[in-house]
């Protein structure tokens, strides 16, 4: 469903060129949760933005369902849903108004949008806050609203950027359930997080990024065999400390 091939992205900072993403490739299938993992500054968000079409890669390409994104970025955006902890809400709009707005942006039919709002409200336990102003929501409620927003157009591909950041245990559980739900619905999910313990729980496959490079890619079993470690955190530390990465 998602195919990223040799993605490269450079930034110029104080006259110096910084390679944020260096020849990163991966694939994500339908009904699969792919974890793009790594510490802060590894290049996860930049990679996600390139997949989303918000950043133009300096080289490489991304295809969604076989169509290269640079050719028709508007069409491919209809197939993507983005949920990010950086996302905010509109303080003066109610939850319903905000969701209707995004339905409009994704060209979702008005009647269908209303139905979907009710469904998502039930699913994400938002029925009581639908007509509340977004400025009055708690962090957990805002996160649920953001999740609903990403699903308004029912995209086949979901991109989740640090979805549990800032959430407590209960809030995080909601997100995990949400991810399970997406997986059941056959969506291809690309999850970017630095919480390796959480990723271990929900992801089917992993791509470990460090300094913009893909250090390793595979399932949990593959990683265990390669590193001899049990937990993802230990595997990652071992991989980045290996002589090849020195």
């Amino acid at each position: 469903m998602i195919h990223a091939n040799q993605l490269v992205k450079k930034f110029s900072i104080r006259g110096e060129s910084l390679i944020a993403v260096n020849e990163v490739s991966f694939q994500v299938s339908k009904g699969e949760v792919y974890g793009l993992l790594g510490p802060n500054g590894a290049g996860k968000t930049t990679t996600l933005r390139m997949v989303m079409g918000l950043l133009e890669p300096d080289s490489g390409w991304v295809s969604i369902d076989g169509k290269v994104t640079s050719n028709d970025s508007m069409e491919h955006r209809k197939m993507l849903g983005l949920i990010s902890t950086n996302d905010g809400v509109y303080p003066w709009l109610s939850v319903r108004e905000m969701l209707m707005y995004f339905a409009d942006l994704y060209a979702v039919d008005l009647a269908l949008a209303k139905v979907r709002i009710e469904e998502l409200a039930k699913l994400l336990d938002m029925e009581s806050i639908l007509d509340q102003r977004c400025s009055t929501l708690s962090t957990g409620q805002k996160q649920r609203v953001t999740c609903a927003r990403g699903l308004m157009h029912d995209p086949p591909v979901m991109l989740l950027d640090e979805p549990t950041r800032g959430l407590d245990v209960v809030g995080s559980q909601t997100i995990f359930r949400f991810i399970e739900l997406l997986k059941e619905r056959g969506k291809a999910i690309l999850l970017s997080t630095h919480r390796l313990d959480e990723a271990e729980r929900v992801c089917d496959r992993f791509g470990l990024l460090h300094h913009g490079h893909m250090q390793y890619e595979g399932t949990l079993v593959d990683l265990q065999n390669a590193t001899g470690q049990t937990h993802l955190t230990d595997m990652f530390i071992q991989l980045i400390q290996s002589p090849a990465n020195a």
Partner: protein, 728 residues
């Protein structure tokens, strides 16, 4: 989409405060304060004593008689029992004179004048300073002539006053005194006519023939008030638009909603348009609220006629001003959006907008100055055109042509700003923050670079402007000799636009040959025959362009003269005389060679190379041409907006030449040729021009059309030269 933007804006308390509370609270308060001031000044007016200047002892008794008779008639409102001939006889009696500054200046019991001293006082002024005394406000009116003449009639003779009175125009006291005196004289004459009608005296001649001269500039006392009100309305409209513009653009980034919005398939222009509609709506609502509050305050508070004269601020005036404010709101909203789209936070957006708001005050101050007429030239200057149009509507004197030009250009500028905003809105460059700080622009880098950074260029440009202003004005203070001044300016140009930028770039370790396009790297690998062909094409192209571009510059000059803009520069003829006396080779050196070299290195070298690092060639050429045009608008301490269009177009030609040839030298030759031809043309006398152009004051249309064709051919050759590639 629009509904969401409007909801966000109108539900925000801060928008509502600016929109509603300000007009309904501030205007009535201002009105009450102003009323208090006017009452105070009216009270003091009642005790005003008008000072009349005279410079001749003989005039005193005559003025005495005139004032006494006139005042009696004014006060009584009926015909005086004294026939006019008696009044004239009294006028020939001499009396004491009170000199300015003397101990008798204040009226005392010994004063033999019989007119009411609470209204008028005489002052003696030394000849020939009467007019000067009026100009300086030492006196309110002056009788510069007050002769008692003998007038021959059909039957006999009679006497008559021949009066010339001066007052200062725009001065309320002077005008009031002159009006009262004119009225008095008219009453005296009316009395004469009434006497004739009643057959008291068959000799007919006006007892007073008065000529009134207003000196100084004619200023409508209500003009400045008529200009302040539109300025206030415009500023309030801007204030109304600022907050939603920031909130819907930079505010989205701050809240973290921008990315989710940009990630949708909705076209960026549609997103921006919905925000634009919301901002314009709030701006228009603010304008409407303020305009209504102003009308209510002036109409019902009683200030309308006091401030604006008899016409006041009518409903019809409001209806006329409203569409102007709407168009302005649409224009300024697009400017705000363009600026705010670039900002990543509220604070940054405010930092961008503050200079714009301050700049917006400048046209407002211009409109407050006396004798600023709303011409077609001013009609194309944004903001100034709207203010002047509104001022003229309030004064009741709008003219059709400048009004139409103002409306059309404002709409055009608004559309252009919207296009710019749509390019900036949500772009990656804006989304990712710049990591640079101010010290990065000054600190010497460790690595060399091929092209200069835009920041380095912008910093140099920012430092250049004040230095240029000081240097160009310093020249005129050092010498008035035109020839020497030209030399000094040429040296300054060379230093500021060539030498110092070179040092600045060397400090920043930027490649000079690459920046200034000194060597043509594209020649590498070309066969000798292709190289010759390339040079020949470039040479021919430059020849053709040089022979045609100057036509448009000269026509621009001729248009400038024919639009009577030249009449605003009375020293133009003197300038031309000085210009003709300078040897032409010196003029060529200082006005053609020096600018060609210095400006090409700066604009097509430094500026264009820096711009190309951030944008495509077309935009870079356009932006450098814009800078080039603006640079020529600023000459000394005077703005010359008429130079903008011709130099902007020349800048496009030169920029395109540099980009196509990838070297600076053809542009230097072209720039020199253009300047030389224009200078040579400027020195031609009218009879020489008549031989070529006939009686027309413009270049023949066939020349202009042919010139356009030659320019196209020239560019075609440049394009051909640029396509020559090495054999593979």
């Amino acid at each position: 989409m629009c509904l969401k933007e409007l909801r966000e804006s109108l539900r925000d308390r801060r928008t509502v405060m600016t929109l509603i509370l300000m007009p309904i609270l501030v205007y009535p308060l201002l009105s009450m304060a102003l009323q208090r001031l006017l009452i105070g000044s009216a009270t003091s007016k009642q005790e005003e004593i008008y000072i009349i200047g005279i410079d001749d002892e003989k005039k005193q008794s005559r003025v005495d008689a005139l004032l006494t008779e006139g005042q009696n008639l004014l006060n009584a409102g009926t015909i005086s029992p004294i026939p006019p001939i008696e009044f004239l006889k009294k006028a020939s009696v001499s009396g004491d004179l009170v000199k300015l500054g003397s101990s008798k200046e204040e009226k005392n019991e010994n004063d033999q004048s019989s007119f009411d001293p609470r209204k008028f006082r005489l002052k003696w002024i030394e000849k020939p300073n009467l007019t000067f005394a009026v100009e300086q406000g030492l006196i309110d009116v002056a009788f510069t002539k007050l002769d008692l003449n003998v007038v021959s009639l059909r039957r006999g003779k009679t006497q008559s006053f021949d009066v010339e009175m001066q007052f200062r125009q725009g001065d309320a006291r002077g005008e009031s005194a002159a009006m009262m005196l004119r009225r008095m004289c008219q009453l005296i004459n009316d009395q004469q006519y009434e006497a004739l009608r009643q057959n008291i005296d068959s000799n007919f001649s006006p007892a007073v023939e008065m000529k009134t001269i207003g000196i100084g500039s004619s200023v409508d006392p209500t003009a400045s008030i008529a200009a302040v009100i539109p300025l206030v309305l415009i500023l309030m409209t801007i204030t109304g638009a600022v907050y939603p513009a920031i909130d819907l653009t930079a505010g989205e980034r701050e809240r973290g909603t921008m990315e989710a919005m940009i990630a949708t398939p909705a076209p960026r222009f549609a997103l921006l348009l919905s925000k634009y509609i919301a901002v314009v709506t709030v701006a228009i609502l603010t304008a409407l609220a303020n305009l209504s509050a102003t009308w209510v305050t002036l109409s019902f508070g009683g200030l309308g006629q006091a401030l604006l004269g008899p016409r006041g601020f009518s409903l019809w005036t409001l209806i006329q001003i409203l569409p102007i404010l709407v168009i302005f709101a649409a224009f300024f909203s697009s400017i705000l959006l363009a600026l705010c789209s670039f900002a990543k936070s509220f604070k940054e957006a405010q930092a961008y907008l503050i200079p714009v708001m301050l700049l917006s005050l400048a046209p407002g101050l211009v409109t407050l100055m006396p004798n600023v007429e709303f011409t077609t030239l001013y009609a194309v200057i944004p903001l100034l055109n709207v203010l002047l149009l509104s001022r003229d509507i309030m004064s009741g004197t709008p003219e059709l042509v400048p009004s139409v030009v103002a409306v059309v250009t404002t709409i055009f500028y608004g559309a252009a700003s919207l296009v710019v905003a749509s390019n900036l809105f949500g772009s990656a460059n804006s989304a990712m923050g710049s990591q640079a700080t101010w010290s990065d622009l000054i600190r010497r880098p460790t690595k060399a670079t091929a092209s200069p950074d835009v920041g380095i260029f912008a910093l140099y440009l920012a430092m250049l402007f004040p230095v240029l202003f000081v240097v160009s004005n310093l020249g005129t203070s050092i010498t008035k000799d035109a020839s020497l001044l030209m030399g000094l300016n040429a040296v300054a140009l060379f230093v500021l636009f060539f030498a110092l930028p070179m040092l600045w770039l060397m400090y920043h370790r930027v490649s000079l040959s690459n920046t200034f396009l000194i060597t043509d790297g594209s020649e590498a690998g070309l066969s000798p025959s292709k190289r010759i062909a390339r040079v020949a094409c470039m040479f021919l192209a430059v020849l053709l362009l040089a022979s045609s571009v100057w036509i448009y510059a000269v026509e621009g000059l001729l248009l400038f003269q024919s639009w009577s803009i030249a009449a605003q520069f009375p020293d133009l003829e003197k300038l031309k005389k000085d210009f003709m006396s300078i040897p032409f080779p010196w003029i060529l050196l200082t006005q053609a060679i020096a600018p060609a070299v210095a400006e090409e290195f700066f604009f097509r070298g430094f500026a264009l190379s820096a711009m190309k690092t951030k944008m495509n060639t077309v935009r870079a050429v356009t932006l450098t041409a814009l800078l080039f045009g603006l640079f020529h608008v600023i000459t000394g301490n005077v703005l010359s907006p008429e130079k903008f269009v011709p130099t902007f177009l020349l800048g496009i030609v030169l920029g395109a030449t540099a980009s196509l040839t990838r070297t600076i030298w053809p542009g230097i030759v072209l720039h020199f040729s253009h300047n030389a031809l224009v200078l040579w043309f400027s020195r031609l006398e009218k009879d020489q021009l008549t031989r070529w152009f006939g009686e027309s004051e413009h270049i023949p249309a066939i020349w202009i059309v042919a010139g356009g064709g030659i320019i196209i051919v020239g560019f075609a050759l440049l394009f051909l030269a640029s396509r020559l590639k090495p054999n593979t």
